[in-house]
Symmetry: C2
Amino acid sequence: MPNIALIQSWCSESPVRNTERTEVMIRKAAGQGGNIIALQELFQTLYFCREINPRHFELAEPVPGPLTDRMSFLAKDLGVVLLVPLFEKAAPGLYYNSMVVIDADGSLLGVYRKMHIPDDPGFHEKYYFTPGDKGYRVFKTEYGLIGTLICWDQWFPEAARITAMMGAELIVYPTAIATLPHEGTDVKKKYMEAWQMIQRSHAIANGCYVAAVNRVGKEGNSHFWGHSFVAGPFGELVAESGDEEEILIVDADFDKIEKERQTWPFFRDRRIDSYRDVMKKWIT
Amino acid sequence: MPNIALIQSWCSESPVRNTERTEVMIRKAAGQGGNIIALQELFQTLYFCREINPRHFELAEPVPGPLTDRMSFLAKDLGVVLLVPLFEKAAPGLYYNSMVVIDADGSLLGVYRKMHIPDDPGFHEKYYFTPGDKGYRVFKTEYGLIGTLICWDQWFPEAARITAMMGAELIVYPTAIATLPHEGTDVKKKYMEAWQMIQRSHAIANGCYVAAVNRVGKEGNSHFWGHSFVAGPFGELVAESGDEEEILIVDADFDKIEKERQTWPFFRDRRIDSYRDVMKKWIT
């Protein structure tokens, strides 16, 4: 019965200060019983993709590197699994929107590189990040099998499906999702509802836990809406944050997964002979 | 701007009477402005899959056959598109859970045969129906491009994805879903929520309209919960029935589809190079 802790916070201009504040929250989450501690997308920095500016490439860092060293030390010190998103520099001129998984003994299990990259007003990610080249990943940690996806990936059922079929008991989506001022309250409500629903649907279709960690706060025109949550293996909402800084701690029972999949045996009935066209962009 | 009409009803022991009552409701729906009129799964009969009994094979009929002839006449008479589920006899000993699509001029456009077949307590469908052999289908009708899926298909995102990529503006799921007495109110609520959510998620992921038509009434131990609904192209709930007999009529605006897909451009960003493993049962 691992405890999942989601750290939802606001960010300042200073990566050093953001990382320090996050470390304090990680220690607090561990003190409150968190075993798997997940951070929001690009937690070290403001969501710099709001604008196109080459100076932001300076924020990228290698894996392993100073951040992963620091987080490995922290994971070992606290005996927790850490899910650490970062702006990854793979080579000069080659950058990914990534997440590393660090086991409770401090070992760096690997890196997931965001596969689906958005590019929309206020979210200019295609300028900064090349789409992931490592495919979908699941990491065997001290506290369970963790599948890693990031933000925009959440809108693609194929990504969740493949991650679940690799054995994920929990799929975690670090996120940076916001509304813009012209979008208004009704639109915000519609977007938040769809955002939660699509992720809960992955829990339903795949009979596994799903967690999303979103940032909060106003950065320029973007209002990040928080509402991090954990869904159980039939999509039920286990717990949900508000729109302020918060540590959300949730008891998860991965033994429920098999039982839920026996009640709703979707994996038994998939028609894999009929899914080839999923590999097309469109069918004409 | 077609009007979608969903006919949610209870059934008696008599297929003749059920068909007559449904015809009355179809005429009423057309009179109220319905252009695309959708019936519930196996609308002619009780949900006989509650039990395993070879005499129920007598309920099956060919396509084309008496039912489709009658419905073609009705569609032409009223100038409406009819979506007509039936227990299809393809050959002696070969039966499908099917739906025919009849255009507003009465022409029989074709048949969809349910691809994913459940088999669970109270739902012994694998005994009666062979899994569909025609794949996913979209029909160009007088009132729009209609994708056809049936009940258990609703839990499989792959089916909705492929149907949407074939151009469906509306995906319709005739359904027979119920709770059993031992399941209680909390379980019923959880199931209904997941049932609606997974289908609304297909509208979100694919930017199209989704409609589900479920029966009502108590048949043996099975309590069919109704709650037919229509979701718009970002998953918003447009209208929803209660748990009594009802004709639900909804204005749909298929022009919204392209706009929604421009706002949320998921089709632009699908990583079709990474989806091959969807064609596996499991990944080890």
